[in-house]
Each structure stands twice: as C-alpha cells, then as structure tokens.
C-alpha cells in the first residue's frame, strides 16, 4: 500500500488524522496534511482507506 497526498487539494479538515493518527498529521500553521509514513503496514489498511474516503477534499489516494 502506497499513499499519495495532494497538498493543493487538502483543506485541513483533519478527518484523516482522526481516522488514522499513525499515518497522518497536520501542519501547525495551516492544518495541511503531513504524511507520517507513505507505505504503512497492512494492519493499518482499513484506517487508511477510511481516511481516504472521509477526506472532504479527495486529497488522499491509496495505491494497493
């Protein structure tokens, strides 16, 4: 699993951090997503997919 993020689209909603806190964080100043790991282990797959689904800006793409 590989994660790509589009900072340009990110709206800083923080939904990804709520869904998968081990994988996503937010910058202090503008809340834009920070990817903590771009190839997380498979036990985080469900959380990561949830995060991608919930992102209100479609800024997260998960590649299997």
């Amino acid at each position: 699993m590989r994660i790509h993020i589009d900072e340009d689209k990110c709206v800083g909603g923080g939904q990804c951090v709520l869904a998968a806190p081990e994988v996503f964080d937010q910058r202090d100043e503008d809340g834009i997503v920070i990817l903590l790991q771009d190839a997380p282990s498979s036990d985080l797959a469900a959380q990561v997919h949830e995060a991608a689904l919930l992102c209100p800006a479609l800024a997260i793409v998960v590649e299997e």
Binding site: V11, G12, G14, Q26, D30, P56, A57
Partner: protein
C-alpha cells in the same frame, strides 16, 4: 431481506459514496445510477472557491477517475431525471419515459438554490450550484464589474471574497446586520465583516432586496426595501437552497424539509436518503438536515450500510469549513446564531478558536479561524462532553 436491484437517484458525493459502500460491503446485485446531470460526478466545494477564481480546471473537480467509476459495475443513467416514485409497485419513473423497479433505493437528489422570482431569467443574474453556474459567473466577474451578492451566508461570502480578489467592485446585501451572523453569531460575524471591508467589499446589512431594474433583459440594478438602487453588472443570488423532493411528492414518503428519515437514514423499508436532501434523527443532536460536504460522504456510507441490513444509528459530529481570502474558518458541531466564546486568541485580531455551550455548560460547537490543530483538540472535547 436481501436486495438485488438497487437504484441510486442523484450521483454526487452522497449517492456515489453510497454506491461504493454497497459494492465494498459485498452487494453484487444490479446497481443503477441516475442523475439529471450529464457530467460524471464532481465535487462542489471548489465551485465557489478554486473554480470560481479560475485557479482550477473543471477536470480537477472530478470525484473519481474513470476506472473507479467503471469498477462499480453499474448501469449509469446520466442526463436522466427521476420524476416519480411508486411505493406500491416499487418503481421509479424516469424522464426518458422508462420505469425501473427496485428493491433498494438511495435518494440523494440534493438541493437546488432558492431564487428571487422578480429576478428570474434576467441576464447577469446567477445562482451557484453546478459547474455550469460557476463557469457562467466566472466569465462575468471581470475586473471593475459591479458584482452584487444577495445573501451573506457561506456561499455569498465565499463568492464575495473571490470577486474581490478578481478585481470586481463587490457589494453584499443581507437582511441581518453582519455576514455569517445567522450561522456563527455576532462576534464571528463582526470579524468576517472586518475581513471583507479590509478587502474593499461593501456590506449592506439590515437590507432586503425588493425588485430589479433591467435594460433589455439584463440586470442594471437591485432595489432595496428603502428604495435605494444598487448598480449591478452581475448579481449572485445566494439565499440558501431547498431539497429536491418534488419528484417524490404524492409518493407517500414524508417530506418535511427534505426526505424524513429515522436514525438509520431510512425513509421507508428499503428506501434510504443521504446528503443535502436527507432529514434524519441524529441520536444526540435531534432532527438534522445538513448541507455539508463532509456529511454527504458520511451519510452516503451510513445509508448504504442500512440498505445492507446493518442497524447502526447515524451519529456524526458535523463538520464544515469555509475559505475566504487567506482565512479558513472551520466548524465542528451544530452552531447557532448565539455568541461564541474565544478559548484561544481573540475575535478582533489574528487566529482564534472559540466554543458555544449549552445551558449546562457542555460544548455544542467549536469554531476556528486559521487554527486547525487546536480545533481538532476542541472537537475531541465536544465529543467527550456529548458522550458524558
């Protein structure tokens, strides 16, 4: 009850998410996706932001790449509207004259903008809901144009910010004194007014529009209650929206400010609703109908799970945001027009985070002004207090 003939009416964020959730949940039956729009599903928040500013091409709004849409293995009926629902025979009448049967139905027809009847049909008068709307408005927002926006809610104030950045002369008219006052109260409204004035936007609070002046079918001015005329090259009507439920009238479904659903987003056995059109019983917050992007996704998932036979009450923490100039306003919970109280920063300058509380002191809404991380912590407090 097992289902094997699902129809989704309205394939924007909510309907599409419902379709995806059905497939991911193992639904292998027939799936028909009906939408009056001929475009593949697209995202709406950028319509009043990046698309209106001309920063993004419309392709960037596409909700899913073509391969993902094909992967749904669905029967797409784009450019076709649902016109009628027959609960007895469990059939839907479509605008192409066909009738389709279903045993599972997702209603996600969204909302349509309210208009001012006296302004309808005049050139230069716009609403903003679709890609076409946004592109038509953008073409007329040329530098120096007098842009008059009726309604100082989120859509109106976002469009005002864009018009101002594009070099238009912008006026915003609203019956209330302050922009976003109805949504976020007077303290935040005061700050929003300050922000727009600093960018040269003229705010006419406490004013209602009663008529239009035209020349050869094109708007020339709007007339206020007190008789004043406000010159306008371009007008945006941003006075809210109403659920698209006319096709359901007489069907037997309860229609009261949207499609009336229970806590599982179910309107009738085998019939669910999601997104802007759905009014449902939130287990904690009571009856809600939310026109929020985030809710479209969450409720699309919840409604689909109900169709799949799960019984999980839909109990989200509402979330929305607004981008205006270099400010991002973010809100969790269910704000009212009551005043917020700042818990970090101050209302009159710089970033701030603020809360609304109920009579017993529990946090019911949190709002942030360029303060995303702090807001996430406050959201957690809101959740903890709701659960307590």
């Amino acid at each position: 009850m097992t289902i094997d003939q699902v129809v989704v009416v309205g394939v924007s964020a909510a309907g599409l998410t419902a379709a995806e959730t059905l497939r991911r949940g193992g639904y292998a039956g027939r799936l028909m996706l009906v939408d009056g729009d001929t475009r593949p599903p697209y995202d709406r928040p950028p319509l009043s932001k990046q698309l209106l500013r001309g920063e993004w091409a419309e392709e960037k709004l596409t909700l899913r790449p073509p391969a993902a849409l094909e992967g749904l293995d669905a029967d797409w009926r784009l450019g076709v509207r649902a016109e009628h629902l027959d609960l007895e025979s469990r059939e839907i009448g479509l605008s192409d004259g066909s009738r389709v049967g279903f045993d599972g139905l997702v209603i996600a027809t969204g909302v349509r903008p309210r208009t001012l009847p006296f302004a309808d049909g005049r050139r230069g008068v716009h609403v903003l809901r679709s890609v076409e709307d946004a592109l038509a408005l953008q073409r007329e927002m040329v530098p120096g144009a007098a842009v008059v926006i009726v309604g100082a809610g989120f859509l109106g104030t976002e469009a005002a910010a864009v018009a101002s950045v594009l070099g238009c002369r912008v006026t915003v008219i609203d019956p209330l004194d302050l922009p976003l006052e109805r949504q976020l109260g007077r303290r935040i409204g005061t700050r929003v007014a300050q922000l727009h004035r600093a960018h040269g936007v003229q705010l006419l609070g406490g004013s209602g529009v009663t008529d239009i002046r035209e020349t050869d079918g094109r708007v020339r001015a709007l007339v206020l209650q007190d008789g004043r005329e406000i010159a306008a090259d371009v007008v945006l009507i941003a006075i809210g929206a109403e659920p698209v439920t006319d096709w359901l009238s007489g069907s037997g479904l309860v229609l009261e400010n949207g499609v009336h659903c229970d806590e599982f987003c179910q309107a009738a056995p085998g019939i669910v609703a999601a997104g802007d059109v759905a009014s449902w019983q939130h287990p904690i917050l009571g009856r809600l109908r939310l026109e929020h992007r985030m809710n479209a996704t969450e409720q699309g998932m919840a409604a689909a799970r109900t169709l799949l036979g799960e019984r999980i009450p839909f109990s989200p923490v509402p979330y929305f945001w607004s981008d205006q100039y270099d400010v991002r306003i973010q809100v969790y919970g269910r704000p009212t027009a009551a005043d917020f109280t700042a818990v970090e920063g101050a209302f009159d300058d710089g970033p701030f985070a603020a809360v609304q509380r109920d009579e017993s002191g529990r946090i019911t809404a949190v709002a942030g002004w360029n303060m995303p991380r702090r807001l996430r912590e406050l959201r957690q407090e809101l959740v903890n207090q709701q659960a307590a």
